[in-house]
């Protein structure tokens, strides 16, 4: 397909992350965007597209984080501007469309939030009373239902998920900016963490993080004139089963990952054998298992033996979530994955860098996923270093 290797990621912006008190969500957006622009070696006047990841209602006293307010504070006057309010994960595809249409030259995509210090609970929404009257709240319960059905259907469970939680933690232990950098995790630690919504324990849940993350997309031609190694979008796919979890019958697979993955691999013209590492959206451990399963890394129920022996860890044959991911680094929706893959392909990951240093394959192609809702939306992105 026509978009293969046509667009590139040329800059990544970080902010302080973890528990970062006395900061507005807006301030993290602006800091992440300015750092991404500086990292790319661009001037702000050159950035002519802005996409803010999902909108959250402002916490008390804070301004509403609209994309135009973000643009104002970042000194941007974008030709095209966008933000979504839920979890459709089409931001990169949108950016590529704007570039392909010739409307923009450089698009910045940012996500920022301050839920930890701001006290936002992801569990107390009562806006859908047909669920709230029965005590159904938050994302953990939806994924718990998916995980439970998967346990029943193909006999997965905590013995599989422990490998994901512990394996990703080992990567976080090599990442100085990971929230869990100083905290090791054993299988015993995993099993002794408290139930949140059974069958999911605390250590099956992603982190809640203050901070922001941003990256910049442009054409490969423009990328070649900039300072970093060129990291292109080799393949991209989406699939959105859309059904809420209470109505879904695909929660044990195939999720949106199946068709989304097939689309991205078809565009890239490669197979799983060409993938050197994965950055998989990990709102929960089970999400990692079902995504890798639907991509075809293993058959239903064979996840436990696939993960066993440190497959995804430093030194493993298929590194997964090499920053620690959202379970152990920080939660920035799909930006945690795309930015980490970009930094790995650019060779900028320090102690956790894939290659000789971590006894892993030097990465040329990394597979990324993003999903939203309760397995309702899915995006696959295959990045490669030219």
């Amino acid at each position: 397909m026509g978009l293969k290797d046509k667009y590139a990621i040329v800059g990544v912006g970080y902010t302080p992350q973890g528990r970062v008190p006395d900061r507005t969500a807006l301030s993290f957006h602006v800091e992440a965007i300015s750092n991404a622009i500086k990292d790319a070696g661009l001037r702000r006047e050159e950035v002519d597209g802005l996409i803010c990841y999902r909108h959250f209602p402002p916490l008390g006293g804070e301004p509403d984080v609209t994309p135009y307010l973000v643009a104002q504070h970042a000194g941007l006057v974008p030709r095209v501007i966008s933000q979504e309010a839920n979890c459709a994960r089409s931001q990169l595809l949108n950016a590529m469309g704007w570039l392909d249409a010739g409307l923009c030259n450089y698009v910045v995509i940012s996500y920022a939030h301050n839920p930890l210090s701001g006290g936002r609970s992801f569990g107390q929404r009562t806006d859908n009373y047909t669920k709230a009257v029965f005590g159904q709240f938050g994302a953990t319960s939806g994924y718990a239902m998916a995980a439970r059905r998967a346990m029943h259907t193909f006999h997965t469970g905590p013995d599989t998920w422990k490998h994901i939680a512990v394996g990703q933690r080992k990567w976080a232990n090599l990442n100085p900016v990971a929230v869990m950098n100083d905290h090791t995790m054993t299988y015993e630690d995993y099993f002794s963490s408290r139930w949140v919504v059974e069958p999911l324990r605390l250590f099956d849940n992603c982190l809640v993080t203050d901070g922001g993350r941003a990256y910049i997309v442009t054409s490969v031609e423009r990328a070649k004139a900039l300072q970093h190694p060129v990291v292109t979008v080799m393949g991209i796919g989406q699939h959105n089963p859309a059904l809420e979890i209470e109505q879904a019958t695909n929660m044990a697979g195939p999720t949106g990952a199946r068709l989304s993955g097939e689309t991205a691999f078809a565009m890239a013209g490669i197979t799983l054998d060409d993938i050197d590492a994965c950055e998989i959206y990990d709102c929960f451990t089970y999400t990692v298992e079902i995504t890798l399963q639907d991509y075809g890394f293993f058959k239903p129920g064979e996840g436990e033996s696939w993960f066993e022996g440190g497959t995804i860890e430093p030194g493993g044959r298929m590194p997964v979530n090499t920053s620690g991911g959202q379970l152990s680094e920080a939660y920035f929706m799909g930006l945690t994955q795309i930015t980490e893959a970009t930094m790995q392909l650019m060779g900028r990951c320090g102690e956790r860098q894939l290659g000789l240093q971590t006894n892993t394959k030097k990465p040329e192609i990394i597979l990324c996923s993003d999903n939203g809702g309760i397995l309702q939306t899915h995006s696959t992105v295959i990045l490669r270093r030219l």
Partner: protein, 137 residues
Amino acid sequence: MDVSYQKPLPQPNADDRFFWDGCKKHTLLFQKCRNCGLVRWPPSIICPVCYSQDTEVIEASGKGKIYTYAIYHQVYHQGFRDEVPYVTAVIELEEGPHFLSNIVGCEPDNVECDIPVEVVWEDITPEFSLPKFKPVL
């Protein structure tokens, strides 16, 4: 309203008021498409399969099986503070719809996917009754 009831209450809307009116009479009512026969939940003006708006309301048997479930150990709402651990479940009803509810009359550890259940009614306020489900022994 019973002031001692601390949990969220239904807020019937134009689409689902018939359902809650039925619950008050301990009947489990669903829309059925007159064109293709799909029994649907949540309620909608149109059949999502055949796009017919020709709809009747049927009373479901209240029998089904547990498609999946979750055991809440964390309190997300103060109204459920004294209930943990409690079970939410998706019930696959005989007529087809998947319906979110609670499993009652059974220890959480004894709940399993695909076991048969039947409706039991909980009158929470003078205005509202909730359909909950218990395993059929």
